[in-house]
Symmetry: C2
Subunit: 324 residues, 2 copies
């Protein structure tokens, strides 16, 4: 339903360098046609980003494209899936060619990096927003689900959650960081999060459950606990903080951001005792940090925190876009 001048927009997105072998028909027909390899399961996720809600209206279009894709890739990472195809439904208030050029250049750079193909979409006139549909492949029966956590599993996170919230606070002048490399690092964690695709794939045989941190550790780990019908204990002393966070944010605020800051797009996953050695072998050479922060338990309900081995009560909720 791209019409009038908006059909021009499509030109920015019709530039497949080479077609993936599994794409029979890409852009240009009523539907894309895809041939799924044998013994692969299809993983599909959809996310909408609305201007003023999910991103600042004056965001650099190249950053926006990277982040929109990263947010969706992160859902594939959390399932252990291999990225394959993207659909992009883009709603724009007007045709701004320099904006479109920067956005689409950045998007295709990322798509090429991940060996993904844009297979369709829609361009419409309206308030700035976009919906991405991402499609990945995972070997049959090997997807990482939220529902697989078992009592005794150790709980891990990748990276240093909370950095994204700190970066957003810098962008919104709620946090002053006088060291430019540290400020740049935190802002980059917000604008340009790294989807943990390779980590997710490495976890296929090792983790019992996984989720990506989009709404904050409390909220997202809570989804694993609900789906797996178990509780967990988190050791607050073991939460990993970045050097930039430790240098510029007081410990209480850092803890708050780590637990409920949102938009980190790190992975949270659970691993049985038996697989911990294999985990270290599998992830050790990725150069990416991962930290054990607690344990799944059958004898508690929900999420419990401890410090120095003693229970601590926290009452923060997951990050809420409408509560800021």
């Amino acid at each position: 339903m791209a019409c009038g001048e908006f059909s021009l927009i499509a030109r920015y997105f019709d530039r497949v360098r080479r077609s993936r072998l599994d794409v029979e028909t890409g852009i240009g027909d009523d539907c894309a046609l895809l041939n799924i390899p044998e013994k692969q399961t299809l993983a599909i996720s959809t996310d909408t980003l609305v201007s003023g809600i999910h991103f600042l209206p004056d965001i650099d279009p190249a950053d926006l494209a990277r982040k929109a894709l990263a947010v969706n890739l992160s859902d594939l990472a959390a399932m252990g899936a291999d990225p394959a195809w993207l659909t992009l439904a883009l709603t724009l208030p007007s045709v701004d060619e320099s904006w479109l050029a920067a956005f689409s250049d950045s998007l295709f750079e990322q798509l090429n990096y991940y060996d993904m193909q844009l297979i369709g979409g829609d361009t419409t006139k309206g308030p700035l927003s976009m919906t991405l549909g991402i499609h990945g492949l995972v070997p049959e029966g090997r997807a990482l689900k939220r529902s697989g956590a078992k009592p005794g599993d150790w709980i891990y996170v990748t990276g240093t959650p909370g950095d994204s919230a700190a970066g957003l606070a810098i962008l919104q002048d709620r946090l002053q960081v006088d060291n430019q490399p540290d400020a740049d690092y935190l802002v980059k964690r917000h604008l340009n999060p790294t989807p943990r695709i390779l980590t997710g794939q490495a976890l296929r045989n090792l983790a019992h459950s996984a989720i990506d941190l989009s709404d904050g550790l409390i909220s997202d780990l809570g989804h694993i606990l609900n789906a797996s019908e178990c509780g967990a204990r988190i050791d607050l002393d073991s939460l990993p903080f970045s050097d930039a966070m430790k240098r510029h944010v007081d410990p209480d605020q850092a803890l708050r951001w780590a637990l409920s800051g949102g938009e980190d797009y790190e992975l949270c996953f659970t691993v049985p005792e038996l697989n911990r050695g294999a985990l270290d072998v599998a992830l050790g050479n990725f150069g990416m940090g991962y930290t054990c922060i607690g344990q799944i338990s059958a004898d508690v309900e929900g999420l419990h925190f401890q410090r120095d081995g003693k229970p601590v009560t926290l009452d923060w909720k997951g990050y809420d876009h409408f509560a800021q």
Copy 2:
């Protein structure tokens, strides 16, 4: 990224009556997981509908759900695909429970009718719009493409194109129809078009090419001609008009709507001479009209019209949402 009160919305859409066998994981994880049957190709299409552009802001939410799904189903029909799964990304300015109840009731009624399953999506706050991602299955190598038309193929349309534009004109007080059943019929063709799913599937072995009429016959048949690198002659005398159209719309306006009205969601397809008999057998028992309106030709470029066997020149373009 559904947050705060918006997480409530998800409840309206988490009511799968029974899961399709090919859905391993539906709503409730980072991704849906789907198992594609052997020797089936996946067909994917995405359409965005924006309030004030694609539908009137005061549209009945039940009508909106039906139309949004029909628009997407029509893309599957044009490929000869069997509907399977839907993703729905819904952006709403506020939480209106009666609106949501009416919209979701209507959506699930249609999904159940087509044996489809809602497998995921997103609910966000913002100006009213929605993006649907529709997924269907078609036997390997049997999808109907735009690019398959051959010189000598006969060109057909289903139904009576133009009715949708007449219905929209009634809704916008640009057309007065004093006969209520006729007015109701035309408005229904606009608000509640019928995706030609069964027809599309019946055409798999018979048609060389197909497209659905979303932007008008001139524009959409033009896509077949471009993709197939051939021209066509259309016999204006053979264009089918509904009785309601013939009774209330002057012939010149009716022709304009039939050729460039848009949103009919009928199929336009091309069939070789050899398959015309089989076509009549296959479609004859559907109770749905289809009409031969012209022929694909190698000796003309683009679309040519004739009346009483003589060339006629028309200069209308396809329906344009931004040109109204």
